[in-house]
């Protein structure tokens, strides 16, 4: 389960960012922000010609001693970042992929909402509860 889930706009400002536990929020924000550089690198590494059939899932962006940061980029360059606890060994690549897929679907729903202005921070309750379900329950 993730400890931090973030949705980052094309222009690299956060559309949505949530983490557990709350007291370490700043650290996660820094982690997510730093990971954007890796995302950038990974996207640019894939050639322009390949951009069309590019895999949206970017894999492990960078590991730290305590956390693993995974990335995913939609075709409109919106980035999803999931931070998972390194000690959580049950999380495999497939689980992470499916989490991203769920996140993407839910994000698409948010974008389909006619009352949502693209570029605004996401305040959808449905999105929030979906994210909550993917997060480690703060206990």
């Amino acid at each position: 389960m993730a400890v931090c889930i973030a949705v980052i706009a094309k222009e690299n400002y956060p559309l949505y960012i949530r983490s557990v536990p709350v007291q370490n929020e700043l650290k996660f924000h820094y982690t997510v922000h730093t990971s954007l550089d890796v995302v950038e690198e990974k996207i640019s590494a894939v050639g322009k010609a390949m951009a069309d059939q590019r895999e949206l899932y970017l894999g492990l962006l960078y590991p730290t001693e305590d956390y693993k940061v995974y990335g995913y980029v939609t075709n409109s360059k919106v980035k999803f970042v999931i931070v998972a606890d390194s000690s959580n060994t049950s999380l495999r690549d497939n689980e992470i992929r499916s989490m991203f897929r769920k996140l993407h679907n839910s994000f698409t729903d948010v974008m389909c909402n006619p009352f949502y202005n693209p570029g605004d921070t996401i305040q959808s309750k449905a999105f929030d509860s979906m994210v909550s379900a993917m997060m480690v329950q703060a206990s």
Binding site: E11, H33, S87, D120
Partner: protein, 1233 residues
């Protein structure tokens, strides 16, 4: 070679597969060099089992003397010491000798091999010519080989090869060498395939047993590593790496399973407390020390991992993949830390940090050792992770050992340091001589505070240099603000505040403090702290100007009155709503708004003008006088702002034509287009001025005009501040807002959207407007007098003096009331109004009214309808002066005739009279016509109601102006009263009866009474309407000669044109009248046309006559016509036109002919128009035939203009003449009015 024989050194990269040599050692020794050289020269395809892809490999071999000990005993699976092939060398060519010794030796060799189950052998028979020559009793050469084959290779004849003259350079020798080498390679590969296959099978079997209790990972590790060694020996590094990766994965899986509660017994040995943390060792190909630990089952987790990684690293570097090493290293280090945690292994605090630090540096050193600088720089992205990790670990070690604290390390810290250093063990021999070894670095760094800082700085390049730190922080702050990461922004700002405080950058520090004090991400305590910092600075000089954005946000501004337009002397209040961001209440000594003042016709502009502006696109868009300031928190605002455009500011635009204020175009205008259409690119978004980064220095604008509010306490949250605006006429724009807290000033340098208000001064003004759309003449109408007092205050006794006129009396009751409205439209006051009338003037005494109020009252006026036909163009002035105004005054669509009535008013505030024009419309239009029925004549009067009002019409009467006895008018009208609806007509009819011949002219007057249908009292409301007209009669001159006209005969036609009226001046302007011998004349053109082919006009049919400008002037023209039929024929038509000669013609002779001739000449001279016309005019001589076609083509000059309907009365219209087959003369009269 020989040295290797005794004890083959394994575990070096020089490992080669072992091939034993038996038989003639000296023979082999002589061949060894070329053999060792030639064997790897060609590659062989190695086909692999289990579907693995075949590979081309170059074979090498380590040739050792055959010994029985070399052969593996049962159960020993060591592959590296395994002899893959056994070769027996002999150069025996003597049968005797073969039988005597060689064969026995071979048998012994074979039996030994067979005893150990080794089937990979080869017998090489070397033949040499030299040897053959020496021996005389040689058997055929083949016989020895055949014998050997016969003796040993019963079915495998290929196990015995012949090498001919190996030391000679002959083609035969070459061929035999190559055949031998091929055989050797093939056999070696066969042996590999067979033996490795068997080994792998054994290994798999062992692996399958891993669930059994006695299974040990270390044992298995040794087995699989053996395989890896073999692959490595065969230069198959990829395969070797796979072996290690498999081991790695297997181990990882066990650890994970252990975490999941499925622990294996053998893992116990890895769970022992970690006693050594000396880091990775990558300088040796194989770390035998650790390998032995593993072999003995005494390795710790770190030992195993270290060893495994050192092997992987070695292979990766062989594979030229150094960047994979760095990546794997980071993974490994993270993983080890996690695994130790998972296995709950006890580790001394800080030990892991030491291990990680050393390992990072070791990996980096290893990589640096195998790459050049350029390569390293190009791939810094791969090494940065390790550097960071090392830095982090060093930092945490520093904290742990009390090396970064301000105080000196405590004894506890020192003890801990000693413990950690002990765990590092002795430095390895490889790096003892290197000055920069990781071991030495760590040792030194932990030895003292100074040394730690030195090392930490070298690795981190930070700290202790606030100036540089501020620069870095500023950069990162900019990017965080631009990208809207609020938590980072707060955190970085806090760090920045520290730097700025250290650097004594007061202004910057205060600005940052202000931002932090208003930062919702901080706790209230922290915010209060920063707020207090500001207050502390505020109490002492120097004065500092800071941006207001951090301190407070403008929310809205509200004007009272809402229009933001006031007259001089009125109060204008401005309510400013400010959200204070400070955590505590702030005492603000003064809040001042700087004003930009411009005179900008403020005083001159009338009230109406400003009102219009207000309604249109005034600065304060909403009608309620509220200006809302765009919101956005100073933090998120910038980030969002980069992506979100400002909202569209749309205004409705209406373009009215200046003349009649009709709408010509309308549209929507975007006012902030320049903002919206600006190019947005990513770089620009970072440069946008942000509230977060230090804003540009704010300058306090020392404007003369200010709105001030003193001693305000701003509570956290929304505050409302009231300003009272000064009132000098002019236009004011709010520029800056400046709040002073002690010596600290918070300045908002621009106020956007633009906030403006206006103060105006206005002249008193009087307007009179009709109450309804149109004023109708003839009936009493109400008009509204509106006095905008402006700056004038109406005193008691002030009165309006209206000059009286006869045509428009003012109907008044002695008292009526006036309304007084304040400029805001608020109060309504009813005041009495007294009106006195004298002969000349009507005086209206006004009630006292304060300035900038509106006084309104209504009066009834009546405009008399002048008798018709009157000159509609005459307007009457009160002083009786008659003025001519441009024509075309009839109402645009209804054709109503209007009367402009001017009223001259003397106002108390002005010495000049005010002239106000009122336009009245005559509601009716009358026409008359004479109808004939046989000999009877009727007069019909048609009265059309052209107004929008419905009327009752009563008592239509027709009278003669000069009553004649001979004449009687008999009314045929039934009703005395009838309604006339709007736009409808009423017809009245009278029969004319006369006894005597009638006079030439009959003046009649039609009169009727009318009243609006809506009028309550019909009888009193009836107003008279008069219509006067005159009837003119044509004289029939009886023919002088014959009684009747006859067909076919010419008869005379006398055309008589009589001027009925003097031309008005306006007509005179248009008509060309010329003075000839003191007589004014007008030119007329007549033409006799007969459309019905009854008459033939003989001679000239048209001509121009000069009519004297005098009433009853008559011109007679004689002409000849010929009737074509007999019977009662209608008279031929006569058309009369105005003749307008060319202006250039100097004088026109009264003689028509000459006049025409003149015209012709002028036409020719000018060369105008087409030649055909000119020619026709010429051919006809004096006759100027004017066709309608010619007219249409618009001859430039002279031109003809038809009379307007009703101007020409055709006397003989409808008359007939009896035509007999004889000639007859007729006189025809045409009257022109």
């Amino acid at each position: 070679m020989e040295a290797h024989e005794e004890k083959p050194i394994i575990y070096t990269m020089e490992n080669k597969p072992i091939v034993t040599c038996a038989g003639d050692q000296s023979l082999f020794t002589s061949l060894y060099t070329s053999l060792a050289q030639q064997l790897p020269r060609e590659s062989m395809e190695w086909r692999r089992s289990y579907g693995r892809a075949p590979k081309m490999i170059h074979l090498e071999a380590n040739f050792v003397q055959f010994k029985e000990e070399l052969l593996p005993k049962d159960g020993n699976r060591a592959l590296l010491t395994f002899p893959f092939l056994h070769i027996y060398w002999t150069d025996c060519c003597d049968t005797e000798m073969y039988k005597a010794s060689v064969k026995d030796d071979m048998l012994r060799w074979q039996s030994t091999l067979r005893l150990h189950g080794s089937v990979d052998w080869l017998i090489v028979v070397v033949e040499s010519e030299a040897k053959k020559k020496n021996k005389t009793n040689i058997l055929p050469r083949t016989s020895i080989v055949d014998k050997i084959r016969n003796d040993f290779c019963n079915k495998q004849s290929d196990r015995c090869v012949v090498l001919s003259d190996p030391l000679k350079e002959s083609s035969r020798s070459q061929d035999s060498w190559s055949a031998f080498l091929t055989k050797l390679r093939t056999l070696l590969l066969m042996s590999f395939t067979k033996n490795l296959g068997r080994f792998e099978d054994d290994m798999r079997t062992l692996r399958e047993k891993r669930t059994e209790p006695g299974w040990s990972f270390c044992d298995y590790f040794m087995v699989q590593e053996e395989l890896a060694f073999v692959f490595e020996m065969l230069q198959q590094f990829e395969d070797a790496l796979v072996q290690y990766d498999e081991l790695d994965a297997l181990f990882t899986q066990y650890v994970l399973n252990f975490g999941a509660g499925d622990g294996a017994n053998w893992l116990g040995s890895f769970c022992t407390p970690v006693k050594r943390w000396s880091g990775l060792l990558l300088r040796r190909p194989i770390d035998m020390e650790k390998r032995e630990l593993i072999q003995r089952g005494e390795a710790s987790l770190l030992d195993l991992r270290s060893y495994l990684f050192s092997r992987q690293c070695t292979l990766l570097i062989f594979l030229q993949r150094p960047w994979e090493v760095t990546q794997r290293a980071l993974e490994l280090l993270h993983n080890c830390v996690q695994e130790l945690r998972l296995l709950e292994v006890y580790v001394v605090q800080g030990a892991l940090d030491c291990w990680v630090f050393l390992s990072c540096l070791e990996v980096l050193h290893r990589i640096e050792g195998c790459c050049d600088r350029a390569q390293l720089e190009a791939n810094c992205s791969h090494t940065v992770g390790l550097w960071t990790y090392a830095t982090e670990k060093l930092k945490s070690l520093g904290y742990l050992c009390g090396l970064v604290a301000e105080k000196v390390p405590t004894s506890e810290d020192l003890n801990r340091t000693v413990d950690l250093l002990a765990g590092l063990g002795e430095e390895r021999p490889e790096t003892v001589n290197s000055l920069q070894s990781p071991y030495k670095k760590l040792n030194e760094a932990l030895s003292s505070v100074e040394a730690f800082e030195k090392h930490y700085l070298v690795s981190a390049m930070k700290k202790g240099d606030p100036e540089r730190a501020e620069g870095f922080l500023d950069d990162s702050l900019r990017s965080y603000v631009a990208e809207g990461w609020s938590l980072q922004v707060t955190h970085t700002r806090k760090q920045m505040a520290e730097c700025q405080k250290l650097l004594q950058q007061t202004e910057d520090y205060l600005q940052t403090s202000a931002l932090l004090a208003g930062d919702a991400n901080l706790t209230v305590e922290e915010r209060k702290h920063f707020c207090q910092e500001i207050l502390t600075f505020a109490s002492q000089p120097p004065t500092v100007a800071l941006s207001m954005a951090a301190f407070a946000q403008l929310r809205q501004m509200q004007f009272s009155p809402p229009g933001a337009v006031v007259h001089v002397g009125a109060a204008l209040q401005l309510e400013l709503r400010v959200r204070c961001l400070m955590p505590v209440a702030m005492q603000v000594e003064q809040l001042a708004a700087t004003l930009h003042f411009s005179l900008e016709q403020g005083g001159a502009r009338g009230r109406a003008g400003s009102a219009q502006r207000r309604a249109g696109h005034g600065p304060q868009g909403q009608g309620d006088g509220v200006v809302l300031f765009p919101q956005g928190s100073p933090l998120a605002g910038a980030g969002m702002g980069a992506s979100l455009l400002p909202a569209l500011e749309l205004y409705e635009m209406q373009d009215r034509s200046p003349s009649d204020s009709s709408l010509t175009s309308t549209g929507v205008v975007c006012k902030n287009m320049h903002l919206l259409l600006r190019r947005h690119d990513s770089s620009a978004s970072l440069d946008t001025p942000t509230a977060g980064a230090l804003p540009a220095a704010v300058a306090v604008d020392d404007g003369a005009q200010m709105l001030r509010a003193r001693d305000i306490t701003l509570q956290p949250g929304d505050n409302s501040i009231l300003f009272t605006a000064p009132v000098q006429p002019g236009s004011y724009t709010l520029r800056q807002l400046c709040g002073s807290v002690g010596r600290v000033q918070f300045v908002q340098s621009h106020i956007y959207p633009v906030v403006q208000y206006e103060v105006y001064s206005q002249e008193p003004q009087l307007t009179i407007e009709p109450l309804s759309d149109n004023l109708l003449a003839g009936i009493p109408q109400k008009v509204t007098f509106t006095i905008a007092t402006g700056h004038y205050s109406v005193k008691k006794g002030d009165a309006l003096q209206l000059s009286n006129t006869d045509s428009m009396p003012i109907l008044h009751s002695s008292c009526c009331s006036a309304t007084v409205l304040s400029s805001t439209g608020g109060q309504h006051l009813w005041r009495a109004l007294s009106i006195q009338s004298s002969e000349k003037v009507t005086s209206i005494s006004l009630p006292p009214t304060p300035p900038y109020h509106t006084l309104e009252f209504q009066l009834e006026v009546l405009c008399h309808i002048p008798p018709t036909p009157f000159k509609p163009d005459i307007e009457r002035l009160t002083n009786g002066e008659v003025r001519h105004r441009p024509k075309n005054h009839s109402h645009a669509d209804s054709g109503m005739i209007n009367i402009d009535q001017k009223v001259s008013i003397d106002c108390p505030w002005s010495i000049y009279s005010t002239l106000i024009a009122l336009t009245f419309y005559v509601p009716f239009k009358a026409r008359h016509s004479i109808l004939s029925a046989g000999k009877r004549k009727y007069i019909q009067v048609c009265l059309q109601n052209v107004s929008d009002t419905n009327f009752h019409l009563a008592d239509p009467v027709l009278t003669e102006r000069q009553p004649t006895v001979s004449m009687e008018l008999l009314s045929l009208n039934v009703k005395t009263q009838q309604p006339v609806c709007s736009q409808q007509s009423v017809f009245c009819l009278w029969e004319m009866r006369w006894a005597k011949p009638l006079p030439l002219c009959l003046h009649c007057a039609f009169s009727a009474s009318f009243a609006p249908v809506s009028a309550s009292d019909t009888h009193t409301a009836f107003k008279p309407y008069r219509y006067e007209f005159q009837l003119d009669r044509a004289e029939i001159s009886p023919p002088s000669g014959d009684q009747h006209c006859r067909t076919g005969a010419l008869c005379g036609l006398e055309v008589s044109i009589t001027r009925q009226a003097e031309p008005s001046e306006t007509e005179g302007e248009e008509e060309e009248s010329t003075e000839i011998e003191g007589l004014r004349t007008t030119k007329l053109m007549y033409e006799v046309v007969d459309n019905s082919s009854n008459w033939a006009v003989c001679g000239k049919s048209s001509g121009v006559v000069s009519m004297p400008v005098a009433a009853s002037a008559t011109h007679r023209v004689q002409m000849e016509v010929m009737p074509l039929f007999a019977g009662h024929l209608p008279f031929p038509n006569i058309k009369v036109f105005k003749y307008l000669p060319h202006n250039a013609v100097p004088a026109i002779q009264p003689d028509t002919d000459s006049c025409l001739e003149n015209d012709t000449i002028s036409l020719l001279d000018k060369g105008l128009d087409d030649q055909g016309d000119t020619a026709s005019i010429r051919s006809r001589g004096s006759v100027h035939s004017v066709g309608s076609g010619e007219q249409q083509r618009g001859l430039p000059m002279p031109r003809l203009e038809p009379f307007s309907p009703g101007q020409v009365f055709y006397w003989s219209q409808g008359r007939q003449v009896l035509v007999l087959p004889v000639t007859d003369d007729h006189v025809m009269e045409v009257n022109v009015t």
